[in-house]
Symmetry: C2
Subunit: 207 residues, 2 copies
């Protein structure tokens, strides 16, 4: 176990390991190895061992890793042993799909509020949550102490919305808007613009 704070790229792989471990646990498997995990994920076994060893000695020589124990450890590292409140901004098709997706609550992410600027959307219920006007966003996010937001507005308003969210205490943004957000260092952003992902892949296709 090292002293240095682990690189972000390693942190980013932990949720992938966790997902694979959960799948194995669902199949009632109790033990796995860095080799088996690597096979499943297309990652070298050495990398998996090195990544995990940054956080502790979770395995046993000759045996491998006890799955439920490793799941618990990774959940602890990633701060997943609690529920996280989340706000959605934008109640268009993307915002609605997010609000209706069951995977969030299954993993402890609880949608607490949805905001939109469209008066026809405000007051509507989506998956049991009433859409509020975006003017209330800052106040409501602060009141509820929400730290996580999913941004599903048009690109044109995304930066302004992000600024307001951060001002209100949000510290992590899942960004669906097709724009690079400018945020302070202490705020994390993960972007999910599908168009840029498609454009990355067309490079490799026959023109």
């Amino acid at each position: 176990m090292t002293q240095k704070t682990p690189p972000d790229i390693v942190i980013g792989r932990l949720p992938i390991y966790l997902r694979a471990l959960n799948a194995l646990a669902d199949q009632k498997q109790e033990v796995t190895s860095s080799y088996e995990l690597g096979e499943r994920l297309g990652i070298s076994s050495a990398q998996i061992r090195k990544d995990l060893s940054q956080f502790g000695d979770f395995g046993k020589q000759g045996t491998g890793y006890h799955i439920s124990y490793l799941i618990e450890q990774i959940r602890h590292i990633l701060h997943l042993n609690r529920k996280w409140d989340v706000a959605i901004i934008g109640a268009g098709h993307v915002g609605q799909a997010l609000a209706n997706y069951g995977g969030f609550v299954d993993h402890g992410f609880v949608i607490r509020a949805i905001f939109d600027v469209d008066p026809r959307k405000v007051g509507q219920q989506i998956n049991g949550i009433t859409v509020q006007h975006q003017d209330k966003m800052g106040e409501e996010v602060r009141r509820q102490g929400i730290k996580l937001a999913m941004l599903a507005t048009p690109a044109s308003s995304a930066q302004e919305v992000a600024d307001t969210l951060i001002e209100a205490g949000v510290r992590a943004i899942l960004n669906y808007a097709p724009i690079t957000l400018a945020v302070p260092d202490e705020v994390k952003v993960q972007s999910l613009d599908p168009v840029t992902k498609l454009q990355h892949m067309t490079y490799y296709l026959e023109p």
Copy 2:
């Protein structure tokens, strides 16, 4: 300009540069510099110059880059000077949001088919496209020569669907299912599971 094939990580940044350049062009700006672009994107100017120089000499000393010319060059590199047909698999909330998202057609990605296994979904129209039964997927994808697919099925069937798509000629998959897909080297996958992205960020939040 180098001879070696450029690293994938560089290819992945080109769509980001393109997006920023398009935004500048929309504002009627005609010329930019690696410094300005870097400021906007939170990337060093050296990296931008190095990335672009892998593909050609697109700039002018003392002046910078002519925006419309650079856009054209990057579009060419990424094979974006044509339309790409796309299939969506899964007509749930995510599949519907994808089918309704105008950003795809704006960037030359044309949704040609939507598939689902649910008989209640089959026959429905989503954004003008009739949902077909998933049993027809392989045949239809092959018939239309579709190379790009967006996978929005449950995790439990995602691998099987991917196998069928690849068998039918698909070479790039935008994967919304929360699973790591196993695919041959010649097939590209970009994954967009929002839960793993959130879990990456919670590491940095107060527990």
